[in-house]
Assembly symmetry: C2
Homo-oligomer: 143 residues x 2
Amino acid sequence: MQGKFDPLLLENQLCFPLYAAAKALVRRYEPFLEPLGLTYTQYIVMLVMWERKVASVNEIGERVHLDSGTLSPLLNKLVSKGFLEKTKGEDSRFRFIALTKSGEELRKRAESIPMQIGCCMDFTQEEATTLYTLCYKMLNQVS
Amino acid sequence: MQGKFDPLLLENQLCFPLYAAAKALVRRYEPFLEPLGLTYTQYIVMLVMWERKVASVNEIGERVHLDSGTLSPLLNKLVSKGFLEKTKGEDSRFRFIALTKSGEELRKRAESIPMQIGCCMDFTQEEATTLYTLCYKMLNQVS
DNA sequence: TCTAGATAAATTGTATGCAATATATTTATT
DNA sequence: AATAAATATATTGCATACAATTTATCTAGA
């Protein structure tokens, strides 16, 4: 009478809710980011730049887990929007990406976004911390 | 002496570990799926088809949280690989997607993948369940 | 019955992601 | 100094994602 556990049932896979929840959360950010002229991926790059002010493409990539194939065109877009500028380093293999004044000013407009996202979610602080910790544990183990 | 909490620090955002962990986990699946001729997204669609045998594009889309813009070309690829076939329904606005014999056989080769992924991760059953539950909670709240 | 919505799927356009390759530059070795 | 290996970034090719539009078909009301 008891059904055998099916490992291939969508609902029995941990990967799927993680994959779907991540996509859904990114989509939730987009209406808040659109007025700033940013996509979600551009936003996480800006988070790094607001903190670092200057960084090489590699340094940004390690921080956000993206490679040059994704970052090169994305950084060009942020440069053409005026939020970043790109210069060669002494070692001219490097490109140094730097925050512009316009990029710095954008920070103020982004500051309230995390709270606005958090507000409309019914997560306790403990649940959020648990999810955060387990995601980082997953990230460390699989990447 | 105490630094103010910065909501825009990458490490202070819940979205980032979720986004990065999901991408990393998907990448972890790909070497196991490549011999079967599937990408990760194609795999989750096959999970639905192994369970359902027949479904409309919309039904698949609701299940995997993807729209026709993603599914139409993806289903065409699975049809051209011989795993699925597509027929018109009575109401010819619908396309009915059905599992082929070859698609059915592929199931056996996929059966061990979830365990192989799980094995190389140091997650307790409780941690996995907690992560699973919180991701579904997130998904239900933001989508 | 005729036609205005409604519905399902496909198409278009833009932006990722990432593997693999190419290019440019630097460093190490002879 | 000449060149092989290493390094940083850019480019290419393929596969998503998803909003917005289009196409095809169906249904309900005049």
